[in-house]
């Protein structure tokens, strides 16, 4: 593992060895301080239901779910340079699929099947769209717009699926009114299983988020991650190192779709409801905004930005709320173009080099919220 690690001095070998697969030049936080902050953040999030109660946790679970959606974009955009407005498409398709399966197959079997089906359909959809685009030579901003248009087509289509003729078995798509009475998250077969709602849903979402975060860190700092970053930086050059960049983009996009699908399942089981608004331009813009603000190549930054921005939006009420949120976006883009997390890192590094080795630099303070 010599070649993977690069920064820190060789001191505590066990800790280093545990950390090393998660670290590398492709992720921002690679110091003890970062991991300490990360640990504090995770523990704070884990304590939230204890401190604020299961009801509050049940409500806030959606922040984590959307953070996961943000991460799915961060992965394809930040690490492979594919700006997709279509993450909500995979998110929504997965949500509807879960609803259709869950409403038709009763008992725990249905829900468990629904989880698998939701993620599978989202993944296949992303694969089909990715194949269509990348093997067809569509690139850059045109990928962005195709994905946006796909989301809008889904919105237009789902909006008109009202009425009995648009029922799939027991599940009515519901058109503009949306699909309702979608079952809670659960896992099991037949009558034997575990229900996951409220605080448990919160913990499942948190566990999914952390698992995805750590998994992606391993991935982006490994062979595939280097290939992704190389593709992002210079496609032709990377091709001339023998990489099939088309395949790399296709795989990345598909994986991103799968992650968005996972968050879609967690979303519909949170509100037991989904409507075509999830495909609309505003919804489609949200992940892009979280990733831009948090730092598009910082997974933790995107997560933090998603959580904090949703929290701010919920706190702000009254007619000036949207004005403040909008101004905040403009301000952040002008003041810190690369996003908050990279800026914080630069700030921390500067302080470290100017003063003596700092203890516990707060790389992603927002996580603790």
């Amino acid at each position: 593992m010599e070649g993977v690690r690069m920064s820190s001095e060789p001191n505590s070998s066990l800790l280093e060895r545990v950390r090393s697969p998660f670290e590398g030049p492709n992720t921002l936080g690679n110091s003890n301080g970062f991991w300490l902050t990360f640990g504090v953040g995770v523990v704070s999030l884990a304590l939230y239901p204890v401190l604020f109660g299961t009801y509050a946790a049940g409500e806030r679970a959606v922040f984590l779910v959307y953070a996961l959606l943000g991460v799915s974009l961060c992965f394809v955009w930040g690490f492979c340079g594919i700006l997709s407005f279509g993450q909500v498409a995979f998110f929504g398709v997965s949500g509807y699929t879960f609803g259709i399966v869950g409403l038709n197959v009763s008992s725990y079997t249905g829900v468990t099947l629904g989880i698998v089906a939701g993620i599978a359909v989202a993944t296949l959809f992303a694969a089909a769209l990715g194949y269509f685009m990348f093997y067809g030579g569509v690139r850059d901003v045109y990928v962005t717009i195709i994905t946006l248009v796909v989301a809008l087509v889904l919105k237009t289509f789902m909006d008109q699926t009202a009425g009995g003729e648009w029922a799939i078995g027991e599940a009515e798509l519901g058109g503009f009114n949306g699909m309702r009475n979608i079952p809670n998250l659960a896992i099991g077969v037949g009558d034997v299983g575990i229900d996951v709602s409220r605080a448990m849903h919160y913990y499942v979402a948190l566990a999914a988020l952390i698992a995805v975060y750590l998994g992606l860190r391993v991935l982006v700092n490994g062979r595939f991650g280097y290939a992704m970053v190389a593709t992002r930086e210079d496609e032709t050059r990377t091709e001339m190192f023998g990489y099939n960049t088309t395949l790399i983009k296709f795989v990345t996009f598909t994986l991103g779709g799968a992650l968005a699908g996972l968050s879609g399942v967690l979303y519909v089981t949170w509100g037991n409801y989904i409507d075509p608004q999830q495909f609309a331009i505003t919804a489609a813009s949200m992940p892009v905004i979280w990733a831009s603000i948090g730092g598009r190549d910082s997974i933790a930054g995107t997560m933090a930005a998603a959580i904090v921005l949703q929290w701010i939006e919920l706190q702000l009420t009254g007619e000036w709320a949207l004005v403040i949120v909008g101004s905040l976006l403009v301000f952040v883009i002008l003041a810190m173009p690369e996003g908050i997390a990279p800026r914080l890192r630069t700030f921390v590094l500067d302080r470290q080099s100017s003063s003596e080795p700092a203890t516990a630099p707060a790389t992603t303070e927002e996580v603790t919220d």
């Binding site: 280097y226 930086e233 023998g242």
Partner: protein
């Protein structure tokens, strides 16, 4: 120098006629048109194993187009490319790279955010296991005199160092044919001499064949086994540098225009 490869090939002298059976690359009737305009005109071209060939010609002669056809970045309108006896015309770029063709672009294309070590990892991880990264990286950097810069990002390297790092990255794939597009453009006299020395050494010790596009005729003279002159998309003449240099027709189309 780390000549770790046990199957080192030796350089072969090239005779005046240039006819040999051991061709690593051969094109047949290679033709490329953009719309109505011909960029590469039915070119038959061959490079021997371990040979260092220079491609010269005035601007717009079709040199870059020709290299792009070999790497697969462009698709030919007609004709075929044989590499190591196999028709590679239908293969995409990355599969040609897998067969041993490596390319260094004219404009520097290092990965800006990555250090020299990480830059090298991108080609290296394709052919060696993770536990060999460090050893191979150090070998290569030592070979290209960049070991001290192992943790530097490209921004901290001199122009010459950047060029050497790029060649090192192309070499990391252990190619049998290297394509270099103007490897010494913008380098100082000393740096140019270093690169020339480096190419000769690689050729001598690892038996790699080269196709080098270059305008600097002194550099060409130092390194080339043979020279091919392209003009208006087709081969104008071929031969040793002495022969080409003294050809009055070449002077007319190429050297005359150069100064």
């Amino acid at each position: 120098m780390a000549a770790s490869d046990p199957t080192v090939k030796t350089t072969r002298a090239v005779d005046e006629t240039g006819e040999r059976s051991s061709r690593i690359l051969q094109t047949r009737d290679l033709h490329k048109e953009f719309g109505g305009l011909t960029a590469t005109d039915t070119v038959d071209f061959a490079v021997e194993e371990g040979e260092l060939r220079c491609l010269i010609g005035p601007n717009g002669a079709g040199k870059s187009t020709f290299l792009n056809l070999i790497t697969g970045q462009l698709e030919p309108t007609a004709g075929s490319i044989y590499y190591d006896g196999i028709d590679i015309t239908p293969l995409p770029s990355h599969e040609r790279v897998d067969r041993g063709i490596s390319m260094k672009f004219q404009v520097p294309t290092l990965y800006e955010d990555l250090t020299a070590r990480q830059n090298l990892r991108i080609p290296l991880q394709r052919i060696v296991d993770a536990d060999e990264f460090e050893t191979r990286t150090r070998e290569l950097l030592a070979q290209f005199d960049l070991l001290a810069e192992i943790d530097e990002t490209p921004a901290a390297l001199s122009h010459g160092q950047q060029q050497r790092l790029e060649i090192a990255m192309a070499m990391a794939l252990e190619p049998t044919l290297m394509l270099l597009d103007e490897p010494v453009a913008g380098l100082s006299v000393e740096e140019t001499a270093e690169v020339a020395e480096l190419l000769r050494t690689i050729q001598a010790e690892e038996g790699v064949a080269f196709i080098v596009i270059e305008h600097d005729i002194d550099f060409v003279e130092t390194i080339a086994d043979r020279v091919t002159v392209l003009d208006q998309g087709s081969i104008f003449t071929e031969g040793t540098i002495e022969k080409v240099k003294t050809d009055p027709a070449v002077r007319r189309i190429y050297l005359g225009e150069e100064r």
